[in-house]
Symmetry: C2
Subunit: 263 residues, 2 copies
Amino acid sequence: MIIVKIGGGKEINIEAIIEDLAGITEKYVIVHGANALRDKLARDLGQPKQVLTSVKGYTSVYSDEKLLDVMMMTYAGLRNKRIVELCQRHGIDAVGLSGLDGRMVRGKRNKGIRVYQGKKLKIIRDFSGKPVSVNAPLLRLLLDNGYVPILTVPIIDEQRTAINTENDDVVRVLQQALQAETVINLIEAPGFLEDRNDAASLIKNIPSSELASRENQVEGRMKRKMLAVRKLFEQGATKVVISDGRSDHPVRDAMAGKGTVIG
Amino acid sequence: MIIVKIGGGKEINIEAIIEDLAGITEKYVIVHGANALRDKLARDLGQPKQVLTSVKGYTSVYSDEKLLDVMMMTYAGLRNKRIVELCQRHGIDAVGLSGLDGRMVRGKRNKGIRVYQGKKLKIIRDFSGKPVSVNAPLLRLLLDNGYVPILTVPIIDEQRTAINTENDDVVRVLQQALQAETVINLIEAPGFLEDRNDAASLIKNIPSSELASRENQVEGRMKRKMLAVRKLFEQGATKVVISDGRSDHPVRDAMAGKGTVIG
């Protein structure tokens, strides 16, 4: 079992990814983002995104009800359905689901994010949270009947309200349920870079034992990504490949070990 | 088995509809629209909708690729996921699917719509078509496992491309597959009106044998709706209720025979 995470950047070569996947015999589940589409739509609607930085240094998008609407439109709507269409065109019998559908991804809403506003500590509560579990029986039902689940946010909280979450965390609970050996993470970079501004600084291999120390070297969004990868190994993943989603053969490249191989 | 069609107008009382459905023991499938949301988003994005009127007098929305994007955002995205969320909050284990997912609704793309531009006859080909069949095994799989399918456009054509279609036609192929006895159609009116501007002119009963003659009395969109209802009976439906989707108990009312009962 493979989990393929597709980043939501606008340079991601989604056609090439789906074409590659059509040639794969192993079973897989896709988790995708759509942040470029979300940000564009939010701008077009005059609701530019606001980013919160927690006191611990993690950044997240401020997810009010309007942003959730925009996410339903772009993640669960436009991006998910265009990916499903592309899959179907390549003979992949895809079924696109948000975390709300069949309560596929169940989470816990954040109590509040501690942020500094100026020098003042404030707690802001929005519609965001952490995934806790997935609906494994529904996933199995689909997989056993030949369907490929294409998953995306929003997810559903304990009050059965739609909440935003990080797709990296969705991948974590998904891997826990499916015990996927391999996680392929397709991003808008050649892999993990020593220097984020220098593509030549690609780190080709990271032993999973080094992840904790790597995590302390990086900041913000990348820090969160490292943490997410470390948790995958704690749960039994044996291989995580972070690879370039912009290439002509993103999945084939990843499976051949191009990018950053962690294991 | 009941098919509940929920109109896409902005006055539809979606909360009340889902609340009513939570109290029903019979199995059902929902098909919903989102035209008010679609038109609003299209306007907000500076792509106001264009309506085509065929030489036979049927009107349809000109569905280019951009409109399909907007439909994915509003029908399959925002409206579908907010309905799923509402269902989940009421204990209905809803799974929202477009016609693309698992090729749930398979159609045939229109070869072209014959329209007059001034006095000139022109054929315009867009991404629209007619549904031909549904993925009955996937529907059964979901229903048999306790899930309620929430269906909407777009659907998928023979080239596996997303196309727009009328939800009335989706209901028709769905009824054919499920042999639902009852179809409830919730609209922004008390039912079929003799005079569309007079709510008091409600037609309480129409024998199915009179549908063909009624069809000839009306125009445009209503003509198409009558035709769609007539086809349901040709396929074995025994009861179609067209009822007010704006009331406090739209489904309960419809099941009690309020609105227009055809049978």
